[in-house]
Point group: C2
Chain length 270, copies 2
């Protein structure tokens, strides 16, 4: 019963309902969530005091590609239809707590430090469109190479909102030249989860000096015949928020996502 999910086989993880996965994390298991609850959307978390909430909501409205909002828990709310019977303070495997923009701690449960004025933003994650790419036969190199996706700061500016502004962070996937059009078409159908690429080709044109030295994640080998394709990345809002040094903030720890009850396909249009 107390057996950690870390020891669960990949097949078992994928078959768990989101509610079951959240129960495992709530009970104390700390693990990356990659591969859990196949077909369901995983999400990023940013929790901020109400004082910053309007500016952040506006930032998301103005920057839907890097900051696709799946849901918002208002001050006083700790659950929603995205996590039925859940609790946003316990159901993510690991949280990061920030004060004044500085990382203070990593803890698996934030109930002790919770405040009634906190607003939680649940933000879409590229796992959703990567599933769609794979299902449609487009290779996703970092998955094939067993690595984290490479991410880069760019010279593309986000649309400012209130106290929030700063450069866009992008993720890069090398795509075979003949499948770039497919990759664009497929990810365009997910506007609620980063959507279409923001740039195709020359990294220098968006201020990336060396693809082999990403700012976040890991470098991937770029196979011959592929071209680098760049998507807006969910690290952008976290980076933009921290640069504004909010008095208090809680985020998920990288790779330790919220598993929502929303199916990936729910975000596909048309």
């Amino acid at each position: 019963m107390a057996k950690g999910a870390g020891s669960q086989r990949a097949d078992d993880r994928g078959a768990l309902l989101p509610k079951q996965a959240r129960e495992i994390f709530r009970a104390g298991t700390v693990t990356h969530t990659s591969g859990y609850s196949r077909g369901y959307a995983q999400a990023n978390l940013i929790t901020l005091p109400q004082k910053q909430a309007f500016d952040f909501l506006l930032f998301a409205q103005r920057n839907p590609k890097p900051c696709p909002l799946l849901g918002v828990l208002e001050a006083g709310q700790v659950s929603s239809e995205l996590l039925a019977d859940g609790d946003i303070r316990t159901d993510i495997p690991l949280y990061r707590v920030y004060r004044g923009g500085q990382l203070e701690s990593e803890i698996p449960d934030v109930r002790d430090i919770w405040r009634d004025d906190l607003v939680s933003f649940i933000i879409g994650c590229s796992f959703t469109f990567e599933s769609a790419l794979l299902d449609n036969g487009v290779p996703v190199e970092h998955i094939a190479q067993g690595k984290n996706v490479p991410m880069y700061r760019t010279t593309i500016q986000t649309n400012p909102a209130g106290v929030f502004s700063g450069p866009m962070v992008v993720s890069m996937r090398p795509i075979p030249a003949a499948q770039v059009a497919d990759a664009v078409r497929i990810t365009s159908r997910y506007p609620a989860v980063h959507g279409a690429p923001v740039h195709v080709g020359d990294p220098a044109a968006i201020g990336i000096e060396d693809l082999n030295h990403p700012d976040f994640g890991e470098a991937v080998d770029i196979p011959a015949g592929t071209i680098p394709v760049f998507w807006a990345c969910g690290v952008t809002p976290q980076s933009v928020v921290m640069e504004s040094k909010p008095e208090f903030a809680i985020c998920h720890a990288p790779g330790h996502m919220l598993i929502t009850d929303a199916r990936d396909l729910q975000y596909q249009v048309p």
Copy 2:
């Protein structure tokens, strides 16, 4: 020079750039905007004190079909890239001013009553997807019949946010049975402008007793061989806001829309 745009021929109106149309309205012409600046998105306006702005922005995030936000002007802002070189206080042909949820006046310029704490929400309008329907050969009956679209209060509840909650208002278009699938497919490609229908067929199932007695707009004749198709309507947010009786609010007068610099096609995915 002082000649009113009301006397402009339909062809001239359609050919005006959005900036030119806004200049005409700014100079004092009061007219419905139907047919102006063909190919560009027209939009609804709701302006609220900052105190209500977070709740309204959240309402829009939770109800993208009835309340598709194209842009937000923060407190102190009167222009944006949606109305380049424009002024939200003068560039709409006619405004409605509300106090405590009650209509106080209809005026063509709101500079005298403007306040620095006002936040303006620019909301998509069904004109955008109606153009797409017509361009794709799907008839739009109320246009063919020279009427305003019929709109109905329903028993479908919106997702509440803060002080805002209430029933969804829908618009109805009778669609030939063989083209219902086309109408769904085409409007699905415009998630930023009401998107796919919320209901097809039986009006009673969503609380509409008689299609011949709409709550807003005008009844249309329903031709044989068509089926009523219902889309979320931009009247919803206005209705929901007024029910909360905000101390102060400004909206566009019905049919007197903001003509934006955004092209209709800009909102099409993928």
